[in-house]
């Protein structure tokens, strides 16, 4: 199990815009470099990418919730 962390504090999103598909669903294949989350910090949106490959487990943070720097938001199954 690998966790993916937010590099910055802010508001976390599981999709690129309201109504869009989630970046990843449980069971999806993840390649290093895939966008897995979006964090809004001071009105700027920062895409968070997976650093390793794996199978997507689950989001640990709800869409639109506050997130801290270094806080995990998703899990990958190796």
């Amino acid at each position: 199990m690998t966790q993916i962390f937010s590099p910055v504090p802010g508001t976390f999103y599981t999709q690129s815009a309201p109504g869009e598909a989630l970046f990843k669903q449980p069971g999806d294949a993840v390649t290093a470099g895939d966008v897995v989350g979006l964090v809004e910090v001071m009105k700027t949106f920062i895409e968070v990418k997976a650093e390793t490959a794996g199978t997507f487990g689950a989001y640990l943070v709800e869409d639109g919730a506050a997130i801290g720097a270094g806080e995990p938001f998703a899990e990958l199954k190796d």
Partner: protein, 455 residues
Amino acid sequence: MPVQRLLIANRGEIAVRIIRAAQAMGIHTIQAHSEADADMLAVRLADEAVWIGPAQATQSYLNVEAVVAAAKATKADAVHPGYGFLAENAGFVRALDAAGITFVGPSADTIDRMGDKVAARQAAQAAGVPVVPGSKGRLDTVDDAVAVAADLGYPVMIKAAAGGGGKGIRIAQSEEDLRKMAPQAQAEAKAAFGDGGLYLERAILAPRHIEVQIMGDGTDAVHYFERECSMQRRRQKVWEEAGAACLDEATRTHLCDTAVALAKAVEYVGAGTLEYLYDSATKEFYFIEMNTRIQVEHPVTEMLTGVDLVQEMIHVAGGGKLRQRQQDITRNGHAIEVRLNAEDPMLQFMPNPGRISALTLPAGENIRFDHFLYEGYQIPPFYDSLLGKLIVHAATREAAIDLLITALEQLEIGGIKTTKALHLALARDKDVRADDIHTQWLEPWLAAGNLKPTH
């Protein structure tokens, strides 16, 4: 009725600024705040504070119902919106009107009118304010376009009459260009919008951004001269000056007088700003839009004229008449403001919220720092990155830039990255020193690597 209990429906440095102005007028201040802002400086300074919702602005500072409810619950007789958030939201003003609470700013109808680009342009034209020259209506043939362009003068911007959002815009430098581009633009407009009609407008290349500060009491209006705000990155102002050193006296007078004419024509109440594009080569200026609020960069005007604009807008909101006649408002020297943002200028201006570990403020005559910081303060990530504004005032522009460097060198904001390094580099740049800049200047300057690490 003069304002007695003022709710501040904003945060950050402007909330602090409004509290200080109101308290100096003997007004009881009530600071609205979100969950994330319970320990911000404005909450500590205000006479009273009221919670309006969770951290997300949509659920707090942008939530009309929550702000109106907070104003009622705290028996506020007026609300100051600051800038951004609900400052130009006519629905918010109507909700306050219905509750019998005064909005510190113009009427809902004025906000609606000035917020509509076409209506604002018409109001400006009617008041004698120059707008960007353009064709009267749609043009259907290339010959029509060529005839109109001859009147407007080249270069011209070719737009689809039915379009919007910048799609298919072309710039023709000459009649030859226009004859080549117009058919392409027609075909593209037909394909995109089902209508091949064109619209022509004079192209203002590399313009300056100049704006005029006005204040009205509903019957009378005055101006507090102009500001130069061409130093922009991604359409965000970075550095602002008062006045605009590039203007000659006749142009300045025309610019400011027509701005007052527009303010009077719409029976304006409160502080407002008319924004213009200015073509230094032809000395012509063109109205773009009116902002019906106090602006971030208002302190440079305060330094230039010695007037407290925030106190003045609260005064007129309470039914007061303007306290100065136009001839009493004079400009003295030159003022510059720079915006200190929690961003790393060496890393594409990446936002950089964090804890303020140490704070040393510049001190001295003619130096002002409007901010909301204190040592140990944790800057929340949910709002914009503005930390504070450093403002200096001197006899000349040259001396003001020297004082700015001195003040920036004294300023230390520990624990986070800020845009201080950018401002020091700009203050030492020869084009900036020579006032040889425009709205398209900063981004190429940054892209060319002019900002270098200093440590």
